[in-house]
Symmetry: C2
Subunit: 328 residues, 2 copies
């Protein structure tokens, strides 16, 4: 699936083009992968814009960038053998031919492919490094998470609980909010579609918010800023409420709360922590194995033609947990 | 000079009330000070609003809060003798009777009173701790300062140069900009009243901005955010462009630059560093003594009735350097 045009607002069917090419045998030092599971992430929307960002935009005509898992069909690469299950940035396609850069084997004995894209993939690592390295929560502190029923948010809340914190999540609708408290162990949930968010934050964060992990931006960020505790840390992980804006969105008008509360707001991109992925993944896998961390994925079955419509689920709030397209 | 009403927008004459009371002899453990120099600071505008902030608001009917310098007229306090020159939060009044809390002697042998309110006072300390503790500039990095011709900004730029950084200042009008480069040693100045600020920042900060010390907020903050270097630190010291707004101001719409550049934005209040004032003041005094740091004050002569009008100079951009009211 190739990017055909730069979207304005939500990506439209005409922004994509499906092409078919013959699959070739890999050259020396390369391997061929049959893709089985594709990761869908809010950040993908940003990669489709022609702006300077933390990663170059996907070019028009290029296969859409995506993390994925697949099986090695043919290999002339010393590190990979036929039949290996591997993760890589294989893109939205059925077969990927690659030099192996950024490709790593995944152990399906410890978790299924979708979990390797979720809790044990960039999703879990984003939660881990954002919360622990930038948020630096202390036991007893209050950690607030927006997009809390999403892939990253649901892990952040669970990690906060493991750290002995009070975890409060913001999500859309009573079902997601119930999932937060009943499945992921959040102490409280705020339904931004039905609750008065500032009032709910006053109620559920009576001592203020020590760490705010923001995936959403917009009015949610502004409301959270009014509740910061002294010395609070805000992690700017994403702003899904703004990704499909067609006009510049207003910024957080309450940012002077940072001054009043001597707080900080810090951007994070998980790729910066690549050299620490192994230690973090091992720790996440340990928690997963002993049941202290729950993985939840929203697996859509289809072929690559289902990608455009599946991607929209992220922006309409349809998914809970990690969204994965499983290629039939 | 007492606060008579909460201002809406710029403080009006009717927001103030001058009262006269007899001066009494100090009781045991207290002292009487004749105030000679009053510090005028943008933050005063915030203290006049009835909102939760880093310090309680000035109450209606209360003497306006102000740092000031004066001479001890009478003392029954063991630490202070008649004739001592002292700094304290004496307020906008001719005589202050105090228990000595927060009062310290100042040495007029090393600098005149106005400099003890400026470079050697909260002004210089704000620049020092904001730049060094939060900004953490490295030699060769670019430090951008807004409100650069103001009391704090002019010190920030000079400290950045002492640290081996490139210092770029933003100020209003060609005279102030000339002062930045010719008097304070900035490498470049941006005139926000006449220049295309984003274009000027591209020109003068070709490698991006590593540290942005913001005193101004608003569109200047937004423009600076577009120029952040990877890992940049933004110090939120103030937002003078917004203090007299009567409606909520839009926030920095480019805040996602923090994410793209893995940058941070951190609020600071100088009072938090009180236990380190002596070391910092000594260092600033040393630089002042050997000529590496220049103090510039804008001293208005008058009695306390001149305070309301003098305060407005901060918001109309009339002053360069530290604004001080000298009581005749």
């Amino acid at each position: 699936m190739r990017l055909a045009a730069r979207p304005s607002g939500l990506p439209a069917p005409t922004d994509w083009e499906l092409t078919a090419e013959p699959v070739s045998e890999p050259a020396d030092g390369r391997l061929l992968v049959e893709v089985s599971h594709i990761s869908l992430d809010p950040a993908m929307r940003g990669w489709m814009n022609d702006v300077r960002s933390y990663i170059p935009p996907v070019r028009i005509g290029e296969v859409m960038r995506a993390g994925a898992i697949g099986r090695v069909l043919a290999s002339r690469h010393p590190d990979f053998a036929v039949g290996d299950h591997v993760f890589g940035r294989f893109g939205v396609q059925e077969y990927a031919e690659t030099d192996g850069e950024g490709v790593r084997r995944v152990d399906l004995g410890i978790a299924p492919p979708e979990t390797h894209l979720g809790v044990l993939g960039a999703t879990g690592l984003t939660a881990y490094f954002g919360l622990f390295d930038i948020g630096r929560p202390q036991p007893g502190q209050t950690v607030l998470v927006s997009g809390a029923a999403g892939a990253v948010g649901s892990v952040v809340g669970q990690l906060a609980k493991l750290e002995g914190c009070r975890a409060v999540g913001i999500a859309g609708g009573p079902d997601k909010c119930r999932t937060l408290t009943e499945e992921f162990g959040f102490d409280a949930a705020v339904d931004y579609k039905n609750d008065d968010v500032p009032a709910a934050l006053r109620k559920h964060c009576p001592d203020g918010v020590d760490v705010f992990f923001d995936n959403v931006g917009g009015t949610i960020l502004d409301a959270a800023l009014t509740r910061l505790a002294r010395g609070a840390r805000v992690i700017v992980c994403g702003a899904i409420s703004q990704y499909n804006n067609t006009e510049p969105a207003p910024g957080p008008s309450n940012y002077l709360s940072l001054l009043v509360n001597r707080a900080s707001m810090t951007g994070m991109v998980v790729f910066d922590y690549a050299d620490r992925y192994p230690e973090a993944t091992a720790e996440l896998a340990g928690w997963l194995a002993d049941g202290r961390l729950r993985a939840r994925e929203d697996v859509v079955e289809g072929d690559v033609t289902a990608f455009p419509e599946t991607l929209l689920r992220l922006f309409t709030g349809a998914n809970t947990g990690k969204l994965v397209l499983r290629i039939r």
